[in-house]
Amino acid sequence: MVIFDELPPEIAAQWGRLKHSQEETLLVAMSDIRHDGRFGARWIVLTDKRVVVLSDLAPGEDGEVSLDVSEITDARAEPLVGGGRLEVKQGGYFTPILEYSSSLGDKFTEVARGIQQLAKDEPFGVTTDIPRARCQRCGSLLPDRHRNCPRCVRKMAVILRILSYLKPYRALAAVLIVATLGRALVQLTPPLLTRRMIDDVLIPQENFMLLVWLVGGLIAANLATGGLEIAGGWVGSWLSTRVIANMRAQLYQVLERMSLTFHNRKGQGTLLSLVTRDTESLNYFMIDGVPYLVVNSAMLIGVLSIMVLMDWQLTLVIMLPVPFVVMGGAILVRRMRVLWSRVSQNWAMLHGQLNESLSGIRVAKAFAQEDAEIERFDRRNEAVARATVHESRFWDTSFASLNFLTGTGVFIAWLMGGSSVIDGSLTLGELTAFVQYLWMLYGPLQWFNRIYSWMSRALVGADRVFDVIDTPTEPYAEPDKLNVRPLRGEVEFREVTFGYDKTKPVLKKVDLHVNPGEMIGLVGKSGAGKSTLAHLVCRFYEADHGTVLIDGHDIRDIELTCLRDQIGVVLQEPFLFSGTILENIRYAKPDAEVPDVIAAARAANAHDFIVGKPEGYDTLVGESGNRLSVGEKQRVSIARAVLKDPGILILDEATASVDTETEFAIQQAISRLIKGRTTFAIAHRLSTLRNADRLVVLAEGAVAEIGTHDELLAKRGIYHNLVEMQRTVSRLRAVER
């Protein structure tokens, strides 16, 4: 039974009364929109015989639904703007039975799939692996479904894990602790020295030698503070940078070995932010935040202890404003957070605007829209200025108010302490020391909230990093896997079903057998599943159901590196890494001999253009290869694949982005490359697949037609229509020219 949400007792009781004795409950899920459209709970229960909708409203007001599965022919989760609707098909039309907000879209897609399976008499099976909207521990809404709850981050566990990275540097960590605590201790001494100076030298106007010693003490304290600060800073920044660099390196290693499913789910932006921003904010916190926290915590304890020892009654009185200072600091930080966020948001918008305007400057000029762009920039610029002024004014006002509040403690100290000096129960030196300690006490108190919030954010970032580090990577090093070398290239799909989103299969029960050395042309509309089929051969993704076999072995039983070592891929958008052409061709086989590199380049029709460049094979290709033309990049990427000498080759729209002449050169290269290798070639231009031994036409995720070009044309089916359509388009283009 699939329980997305537990039925509350009253609904469970209601269901207990309604449930027929012979029916089996298969699924329970809760919606967040009531029958009348208001927010509130409603439940759907799927049994092997019925679809039942329940609510806690009075009978007659609850819009209760009970439908026999036998009357339903289909079901769907119909997306709306800002919500969704579960609909079932009866008598040829879909009828709504339940609504939900956009937050529950994934869940109700699964519910619809379950109803669909029941209606079509298929085996019941839905996934419960749906990201939760709320934290299961604290119940609060999650700002990111794929991340841990920031409120429930176990701060101590994260801190301990960060500290575990210090293990190799124990000695330096000890130096840092001594330097930090020593600094706090030394900073406590100047008020004690000034006390003695006032009471034992200045008031009695005697004992010059003592004055010299005390001033010497002050200088020593000052020097020690500076020295310890420098030592702590040097060691601290080195340690923190080292720890974070190690963490970042570990994170990157994990990211490289993560599955494409993980990369698709997280997105490039999130991962970039994880490697750069999250680790960097932790670095800053460790360099600046941790020393501040340690020094000031130690100072607080020290100052309070000394003050209590000096005069516990006066300490109690002057501590009166402390709760207000702490509360004021908290309020200030909370409000400032909103203002900082607004400034940052406005800056982000300005950056976005600037980036867009500069990237699109040709378009702006072509449409003579420079003035409009300037106006758009001015608007964003003004917004940044307004937000910054607001933030600065609020900061200045609040900071001054907080300082005044802090000052009240000092006023009390002067008033109460002054009267004690007058009546002789306190010396002037003691009072002066008291006031100095007071400033040392209030200063850190104001900012502990800010530091705490800073720490929380840094720890949440660290938790996100650890979350990824702990995610299982692709299985590269499994000892019991098969090392099949060389691959003969026999590929078989047995009832393979796969979807990037498990609820929406892209491939549905695909059966296909490919002989070693055979060239298969994959044909079909965009989204038909051609590239997905090829991706499964590389095991970039794993089938949800069914099996992919290579040379008769389940692909999951073959060692991953062994498999990918023997598959060559040429993509529509060739990707080269910054470096030389030589390095890029050697990417798959770094130890390849130069004659082999040249032979690969010749086979790819790339040698001539390479040697024609001033730096030949040593030409730097630039970031992502952007100093080469698309055709040149494509030929380098083919050379890269040739050098690998793969048993299986995947050509995914390899000639789609190039002109006819370049296409011809690439086609020549490809025809040399495919000899003796099992090849999956994907192309929209059907003429490029004329060399294929068989063509596989995919339609809506299933194999619709298989055969040679002539066989499929004679069949007058989907392939025939596609060919006709392309002929018509070609004729039209010829007329246009």
């Binding site: 927010f39 800002g82 937050s103 809404l141 909103v338």
Partner: protein, 178 residues
Amino acid sequence: MATDVALDEEELVLIGDIGPGTTDAATISLSRGSSGQMRVEIDGDRCLLEGKAVWAFPLTLKNYVSILDTKNKEFCLIEDPEALDEESRQILYASLESYYRVYRIRTIRAYRNDWRTSFWIVETDHGLREFVMRWELDSVLQPSEHEVLIIDIDGNRFHIPDFRELDESSKRVFDLIL
């Protein structure tokens, strides 16, 4: 000096000739099918058995309504829905209402900002709702000066027609965020 160039008008396809492709509302008739689906007929000639109505400009111009078939292909575009007959108009607005789930915020009960994310508890015309909004370029839209549309991380939409009409504490949130 700019020189006027004479163009052969016959070769030009003018935008005015193409037009917006709207269908005269007077020729459109909407009705309900046996399962409640919206049926659309144009001039008693073309008929769509199951359609849905969507705004072409949901934030700015509420007079353009597009009627789509079940595969989201446009069947017709209506420029002036008010020109439909009474029954058709009611069916059209009911279809629009059933497609857009936009909740009107009456008051903001709680607002908490945590860097790029904000947490809201709001009282809407459909009851109390808690949501999370991430500060992105398209998460707070201002169709007009005092009108705000907030889109939460899941795509739920919350509308404030005029934030000046909110209570003082709710208004303060907008002073902070806009």
